[in-house]
Structures are given as structure tokens and as C-alpha cells.
């Protein structure tokens, strides 16, 4: 693995960390006070900083460091989470994401963006009063280096600070006058609770080494907490059971203590509180005295013979074991082996005990994940698609061969079908991802647009754990971005207008996802002014989309905004102008096999609803026959099917025909003819018309010979071995093993447009 590959992994992880960061910040923003949330946010930034440091990405490290420092203040409770702070932090998260992207793609970002934020972050980190009067992070007068003093067993309160070899006299203190004296001396006292998890040892870290390192920061009083040590039977030999209570007396700040644990922090629980926790020490001392300190010898065979009796006695026996560990820090040579050795020594015992009782896990395991190359998953999906087809073929041939009484075969087939379906579902589930990352990205877009437009917007997301195929997710971001921009730019009013209308100055944008009948439905709802139908109508007339006397229903007017080139913004703004309108959104959603619609209430806001297939690997289609060929028409394109009557058909020129559907005339397209399956136009009376909607909103009646049924089909690419075929989107394989082509409705409609009526005619003919 070369450096670039490692770097690539780093950036992948950055993406995850950034997502974690964002979701944590959003949770905090919503009033989450769980310290673990703050920790998660801090960890995310810290990990990015660490990785960036390894790759020498100085810009990233610099910014992450400042961000981290501020977060650390939040984490330790030095500063409170205020809305102002949250705003800065969210913006910092955005900048951090940009810096990461710039580092990956080799670009750079405007330095003014970072410098401003850095200043603000630093102000937050420094400008707030610190909670404990004595604990100044950077004392002005630095005393002589404190002695390294590590004590394990003596109760802290009685400890007179001894003189070390270098002859320094540590400052004596008593708990009673702790705060004041510390302040005078320029020293701070911190109570550190250090509880390693088994991972810490597994990764080759060593509690004793960390403690020794901590000893370099200031003088220590260390107590080992052994209360968690289980009985030997329950002891996980690889587990971690000790924790340490440490009082650090130092002239450095909390950051210095954090630095000691920098590489172990994720594998332990670390609590650093300013001041000394007398009670905790006292409690521990008392506990320590109660425990028998001398190892009690015991017979291994006893464990074997009388397992039921043993547990009662064991705690006492095992409690003795930590003694060397607790004392260890005092003796540097012995120290490193002690905690690691203990589990190893206990291993033999535990191995015996294991037979009788399952080893209790020290920490409940988080759901494990693996990174898998997407190609492998795709291959698996393809194979499962094969399996589904094959199973259908097998079933069909069994039916054809009339096995008669061979019920075992039929039964087996049914089971096979069941299994196949389950496998297909499971494989699809592998690629299914929650929409959360996309939704999170929208948070940022809302913030940016809100800043640019001077509007105040709150984004509320719902159902962000709704899962959908990865291919869909990847293609979701773009249309969603457009729609969000549109909703903020056009949908929501300015705070002044909102206040004037008696609404809360802060607009609410609701982004929600849910599953509905095998599809994912995403809604973007704003509580803005709703669609100004008068303006839309005027604009449509101005653009020649409709004539002045066209009578349109409210819904039809609303849907005009999806018409190509339609933009209601009075001035083209940077945000949603430039001709990229809702028609583009609609087209990209349709290309995903989705649909989009809008409902709007004047003064109350608009709701855009899009429904998308859960996967792009399968498609719901209508199987039709055309000139002895079997074709599949995507169900999403079909508005309705109808049986043409002779009276409804009107010929138009030599080859053009219109069909009257209720009050509308719609061009009739003979699919068999346009695909050149037959030279002549077929008689519509013998066929079925599928009313389809194509891009641009125009409707066409596609004429086919007959409908065979509706089916879910596995999409196969034609391009893989051939090339794309005009009018054909892809192919699939039917139960009889034959290829069926999937019709590209838009292409067929476009092809028919050459001689056909302009799409606007359809609209103008309405009413």
C-alpha cells in the first residue's frame, strides 16, 4: 500500500468524521446535553487533525487545532453552548469540510474564511471566565519544574510532598486551603479519572507508561481503583478492570494532561476535572484499607472441583492481585508488566472457568462494520439477479413439463423461490444506506443560502435513517440541493415580510424521508408564502407557455414551475438563477425513475414531494408486446392506460394522429413504428394506448399491441457489450430466458417530436 492509498483512506475517514461532526453539532444545536455528544464532536475534529498532521496538511491541522481547542473548552464545561457559539462551530465544520476537500483535491480555500473563524473560535475559547478560580490555563509565573512524584498507596490528604533527587521542594498544601494557595503558587490541581478499556492494552498502550508520562506534567497522587475486578470466573483475561484516580498538581494547563493521553484517549474513559476530589480519594483509601492487601494463596484445583462455591470467595482473592499494579507506578522497572501480566496470569484460571460460564464482555460491542469495495457488492447483486432469473426460468420449465404428482419438486421450487427472494432482499440491504449523509449536507446548504439571502432558516429533518440504495443516494444530492436552494430563495420570505405576515421571523424548512409502497418519498416543505400563482401565470403567458385565455387549475399553475426555462425569481440571483430551474430537477428525478410534484397553499408554504425507486438495480415495469416483440415500459412514466375508440382517433397529416383523452388531444405514437419493428402504422383500435409523461411535461399516448402484465425486472445494461440503442434505455431478462428491451420513454417521445406537435400545444389545448 503506497502513501496515496493510505491518504485516500484518510480522506474517506475524514468524510465519516465530518459527518459525525455535523450530526453531533446539530444535536448540540437542538439542545442535546449528553457529554458523549460533545466528546464525539471533539473526537471527530481530533481525528482529522491527527491524520492531517501525519500527512503534513498544515492548513487543515492549524484550523482543526483551533477548532479542537474551543471544543475542548466546551467539553470540559469551561464555556457554555450558546447559540452564537453553535453558529460559529457549524460554520467551522463547513470550513473544515472545505479544507479537507481542498487538501484532497489539491485546491485551496480563501484564507480570509479561516482567519475570521479562527479569531472567533479563539475568542470563545479564551474570552469566557474559567469555572475554577485557581485553574488558569497558562500561568504567568512559572515555577521551577515540579517534581515527579508518584504515589500509589498513601491517602492523599496526608501526603507530605517529598523532596526528589534534584532537590526541588514541592509546594506543600492541604486540602483546606487548596484553591487559594494553588492560585498563588501559579499551580493548578486536577483530578484525573483514568479508566482504560481493553482496547488500550490491545493496541499496545500501557497504563503505567501513561501514568509515568503524566508524572512529567506535574506531581501525582495515584490511586488504583480495583472495585470493578470481577471474580476469576467472570474475568475476561483480555479485559481491563482497573481504573486510576490521579491528582495532578501542575503548573501547566489541562491541555497538557490531555496531551499525555492523546493516543490513548479513545480507548479509555478520561475525566479531567479542575480541583481535587477529596471525597473520591477518601472513599478509595477506605476501600483500600478494607481489602486484604496480601495475596491469599488459593488452589487451582478448587476451582475445578467446586465451581459453585468458588465465586463467593474469589473477589477477595482477586482483589489482592491489583496490588502490584497499584503500586507499580512507583517502580518504573516493574511497572509496565504488572497490569498486562495480571490478565495473563489469570488466563489459565479463566480458561478453566470459561467452560462453566461464558466470559462476560467488559464493554458491549458496537455494531461492527467493514469496508467493502462497491464493485464486489455490485457483482453480488448481479449474481443474485441471475439467480432470480434462473429460478423463474426453472419454475417456468417445471410448469411447462407438467411434473404432475411430483409435489416434492414443486415444494422445493417454492422454497427456492422464497430463499431467492430473501437473498435478493439481503443483498439489496447491503447497498441500502440511510439518507442521513445527504440530508446533513443540506444543512450546510441551508446555512449558506440563508446567509446569502439574509433569511433566517431552520432546517428540520425527519426520517433521515430511511434507507435507500447507494446508487440512488449518490444521485439524490444534486436535485435535492437545487430544491433546497429554491425553497430558501423563493419559498421563504425575508424576516421582515414574515414578521409583517404574523409569522415567526425564522422560516422552517422541513426535509423528510419515508418509505411508501416500495419507494422512498422525500418531502421538502417550507412555511413560506406559497406559490404566487398570479405571477407564475403572468410569467407563463409572457414566456409563451400558455395563452392569456388559457384556463388552468391551481395545480396546473403550480406545476408550470417545472416547465423548462421557467423561473419566477424577479431578478436572477446567484443562488437559483442561471436558468437552472425546477425543470432540471424534474428531469434528473425522472431519470432516476422518480416523480416530483408540488402542493402549495398561499401564505402557508409549499411542499415538494418526490418519490424515487429504492434501487436502480430493479425496476417496476409494464410488460407490453409490440410487433411480436416484448418490451418493458417503466411504470413510473405511465400516467394511465386506455383502450382507444375509433371516434377518439384523429388523423393529422400523413402519419400523425391525435387521440382525444377526455378534453385533451394528445399525439399518438406508434411504438412499433417508431422503433422500426414494422414499416406501417398499426391500427390503434387493435392496440392499447399508454399515456406517458415525458420531460418538459408534454404527454404522449404510446401505442402498443397489448399489455402482458406488470413485473419487477432486473435492469441489464446494453452498453456493457454493445452500445446504447436509440429508444431503448436498458434491457432485462424475462422468465423464459429471453431479453426484453426497456423502452426509453423520453427518447421515444423526443423522436416522435420531429414531426409531432410542439409540447406547448398540449398545454394550450387544455381546457
Amino acid at each position: 500500500m503506497d502513501m496515496n492509498e493510505i491518504k485516500e483512506i484518510f480522506f474517506q475517514e475524514c468524510e465519516e468524521q465530518l459527518a459525525e461532526l455535523e450530526s453531533g453539532l446539530l444535536a448540540l444545536n437542538d439542545g442535546d446535553t449528553d457529554p458523549e455528544t460533545v466528546n464525539a464532536v471533539f473526537r471527530a475534529v481530533h481525528s482529522i487533525k491527527g491524520g492531517a498532521g501525519a500527512f503534513g496538511l498544515d492548513d487543515l491541522v492549524g484550523f482543526a487545532h483551533v477548532f479542537e481547542t474551543t471544543l475542548d473548552c466546551v467539553r470540559s464545561g469551561k464555556i457554555d453552548v450558546s447559540p452564537e457559539l453553535m453558529k460559529i462551530m457549524l460554520r467551522s465544520a463547513d470550513v473544515l469540510a472545505d479544507l479537507t476537500a481542498a487538501s484532497r483535491d489539491g485546491g485551496s480555500i480563501d484564507p480570509s474564511r479561516t482567519t475570521g473563524l479562527v479569531a472567533e473560535l479563539e475568542a470563545f475559547a479564551k474570552g469566557q471566565p474559567l469555572p475554577s478560580g485557581g485553574a488558569a490555563p497558562a500561568p504567568a509565573e512559572v515555577e521551577a519544574a515540579p517534581p515527579v512524584e508518584v504515589e500509589a498507596d498513601e491517602p492523599v490528604a496526608e501526603t507530605p510532598a517529598p523532596t526528589d533527587e534534584s532537590g526541588f521542594q514541592p509546594v506543600p498544601f492541604s486540602f483546606d486551603e487548596f484553591g487559594d494557595e494553588e492560585a498563588e503558587a501559579g499551580k493548578s490541581v486536577f483530578t484525573v479519572r483514568f479508566r482504560p478499556r481493553s482496547d488500550l492494552y490491545a493496541k499496545g498502550n500501557e497504563a503505567v507508561l501513561l501514568l509515568r508520562e503524566l508524572g512529567k506534567v506535574g506531581s501525582l497522587h495515584v490511586r488504583c481503583e480495583t472495585a470493578d475486578l470481577p471474580s476469576v470466573e467472570q474475568l475476561d483475561p483480555e479485559g481491563a478492570y482497573f481504573s486510576w484516580l490521579i491528582r495532578v498538581e501542575t503548573d501547566k494547563d489541562e491541555e497538557a494532561i490531555h496531551q499525555v493521553f492523546e493516543f490513548a484517549e479513545w480507548d479509555c474513559t478520561l475525566e479531567i476535572t479542575p480541583g481535587a476530589d477529596e471525597e473520591a480519594f477518601a472513599a478509595l483509601s477506605a476501600q483500600g484499607e478494607d481489602q486484604p492487601m496480601a495475596p491469599v494463596p488459593f488452589d487451582l484445583s478448587m476451582l475445578d472441583d467446586e465451581p459453585a462455591v468458588a465465586p463467593g470467595e474469589e473477589p477477595a482473592e482477586v482483589a489482592a492481585a491489583p496490588e502490584p499494579a497499584a503500586a507499580a507506578p512507583a517502580n518504573a522497572d516493574e511497572a509496565p508488566v504488572a497490569p498486562a501480566n495480571l490478565p495473563r496470569a489469570a488466563k489459565a484460571i479463566a480458561a478453566e472457568a470459561e467452560k462453566k460460564e461464558a466470559v462476560a464482555a467488559a464493554v458491549p460491542a458496537a455494531p461492527q462494520t467493514i469496508r467493502v469495495d462497491l464493485d464486489r457488492v455490485d457483482r453480488l447483486i448481479n449474481l443474485v439477479g441471475e439467480l432470480v432469473i434462473n429460478q423463474a426460468m426453472l419454475a417456468q420449465s417445471v410448469v411447462e413439463n407438467e411434473t404432475g404428482g411430483a409435489s416434492a419438486i414443486n415444494l422445493g421450487l417454492e422454497e427456492l423461490q422464497q430463499l431467492t427472494r430473501e437473498i435478493q432482499d439481503s443483498v439489496m440491504a447491503i447497498r441500502a444506506q440511510p439518507v442521513k449523509p445527504v440530508f446533513q449536507r443540506m444543512g450546510r446548504i441551508v446555512r449558506e443560502i440563508a446567509d446569502m439571502t439574509g433569511k433566517s432558516v431552520r432546517l428540520v429533518t425527519e426520517g433521515e435513517n430511511t434507507e435507500v440504495d447507494k446508487t440512488v443516494i449518490d444521485k439524490l444530492a444534486e436535485p435535492l440541493t437545487h430544491m433546497i436552494r429554491n425553497a430558501v430563495d423563493h419559498g421563504l420570505e425575508t424576516p421582515e415580510k414574515r414578521t409583517a405576515a404574523g409569522k415567526n421571523a425564522e422560516g422552517v424548512l422541513r426535509l423528510s424521508a419515508k418509505h411508501r409502497s416500495g419507494r422512498i418519498v422525500i418531502e421538502i416543505a417550507d412555511d413560506g408564502a406559497g406559490i404566487n400563482r398570479e405571477r407564475v401565470r403572468a410569467k407563463a403567458i409572457e414566456n409563451g407557455l400558455i395563452t392569456a385565455d388559457t384556463n388552468l387549475s391551481d395545480e396546473e399553475i403550480d406545476n408550470l414551475i417545472f416547465h423548462p426555462g421557467f423561473s419566477t425569481a424577479e431578478k436572477l440571483s446567484d443562488i437559483s438563477g442561471r436558468g437552472v430551474g425546477m425543470d432540471v430537477v424534474k428531469r434528473s428525478i425522472q431519470s432516476l425513475g422518480g416523480r416530483i410534484s408540488i402542493t402549495s397553499k398561499p401564505g402557508q408554504g409549499s411542499v415538494f414531494t418526490m418519490s424515487l425507486p429504492l434501487t436502480l438495480a430493479v425496476l417496476d415495469g409494464m410488460v407490453v408486446s409490440v410487433a411480436n416483440q416484448t418490451l418493458v415500459v417503466p411504470l413510473t412514466a405511465i400516467v394511465e392506460t386506455l383502450q382507444p375508440e375509433k371516434a377518439d382517433i384523429h388523423s393529422f397529416g400523413s402519419s400523425q394522429r391525435l387521440i382525444a383523452i377526455r378534453d385533451t388531444f394528445c399525439p399518438l405514437v406508434d411504438v412499433g413504428h417508431i422503433l422500426e419493428f414494422r414499416p406501417d402504422l398499426a391500427d390503434p383500435i387493435n392496440g392499447v394506448a399508454l399515456l406517458v409523461e415525458s420531460e418538459g411535461g408534454g404527454q404522449r399516448a404510446l401505442m402498443v399491441d397489448g399489455i402482458q402484465g406488470q413485473r419487477q425486472v432486473v435492469i441489464k445494461s446494453l452498453e456493457a457489450n454493445y452500445t446504447n440503442v436509440p429508444g431503448i434505455a436498458a434491457a432485462t431478462i424475462l422468465g423464459d430466458g429471453r431479453v426484453a428491451l426497456i423502452l426509453d420513454v423520453d427518447a421515444v417521445v423526443t423522436a416522435s417530436r420531429g414531426q409531432a406537435l410542439r409540447p406547448e400545444m398540449t398545454l394550450a389545448a387544455t381546457g
Binding site: N721, Y722, G727, G737
Partner: protein, 150 residues
């Protein structure tokens, strides 16, 4: 066209169309299968008229009879399908029948010139005892397919 100057003999897959014999290089052949119904493509492209499914992939089916200027084949159970993989991707060739493969010395594959344009697929002939076997250049086939697609 002269083939690789090698002392090694070349393995050829020989197939019939009508009463004529053709050969393709064995190394390009992936599989030989029974005929299966194909799906006609719209617009009736000249060379690739239909597609079939091979192990779940959709593969274009080339009517070799039409390609070689022997008239359009009327696909039925008698036909055989040879799967080849030229540069353009997996392709199925519709032929009448596949004969026993042969091994010939490269010297026996002799270039021919002056053939009609639709026969450019054949750039050389194999003479073997009393047999005259046309050697089909598969990459020329894919060239045809591509120009068709363009």
C-alpha cells in the same frame, strides 16, 4: 494478412455457413452454445440485429451469414452460437454449425486481396488438403459493429 511469425501452429475453430467453411482464431472463442431465441433490436441495424442473454449479460448477436454476404439467416434450432470476445466486448456469432477445430501452421494461412467490400472480414484463406477455409478477422467484425453504432 500475415499472422504472427511463429513456428507454433494456430488453433482455429471452423464453422459452416451454408456449404462454405470459415474459421476464427480459437483464442478469441469463449464458448459454443446451442441456439436460443434472440430479441430483435429496434431500427434493425445492419449487422447487429438482435441481442441474446449469456450468463445474465446482454450480448449482441451477429448474423455471420449476413456479415459474410451470404444473405440473412433465418434463425432456428439448427443454428449454433459461438461466443467471442473481440475488442468491442462479448459478442455472439450466429452460425450454421461448428466443425471440429483444426490446427494449422501459420504458413497455411495465406492473405487474399481484391475481395468485395462486404467481404473485408475475410483477409486470408486457409488451405488444408482439399478444403478451402476463409479466415475471419474478428477485429474487423468489431470495427463493423462500431461503425454501425456510430
Amino acid at each position: 494478412m500475415n499472422t504472427t511469425p511463429s513456428d507454433m501452429s494456430r488453433d482455429l475453430v471452423v464453422f459452416d455457413i451454408g456449404d462454405r467453411e470459415f474459421a476464427i482464431d480459437n483464442s478469441a472463442v469463449c464458448d459454443i452454445r446451442d441456439w436460443a431465441p434472440a430479441t430483435t433490436l429496434p431500427h434493425r441495424p445492419r449487422h447487429i440485429q438482435s441481442v441474446i442473454t449469456v450468463d445474465g449479460a446482454v450480448v449482441p448477436l451477429v448474423d455471420m451469414s449476413l456479415q459474410l454476404g451470404l444473405g440473412r439467416a433465418d434463425p432456428c434450432q439448427r443454428h449454433t452460437i459461438i461466443l467471442v470476445r473481440p475488442a468491442s466486448g462479448l459478442t455472439a456469432l450466429l452460425v450454421d454449425e461448428v466443425n471440429r477445430p483444426i490446427a494449422v501452421e501459420p504458413a497455411r494461412i495465406q492473405p487474399v486481396a481484391g475481395l468485395a467490400p462486404e467481404k473485408t472480414l475475410i483477409s486470408s484463406m486457409v488451405t488444408l488438403e482439399d478444403r478451402m477455409i476463409c479466415f475471419v478477422e474478428l477485429n474487423a467484425l468489431s470495427g463493423n459493429v462500431e461503425s454501425e453504432a456510430a
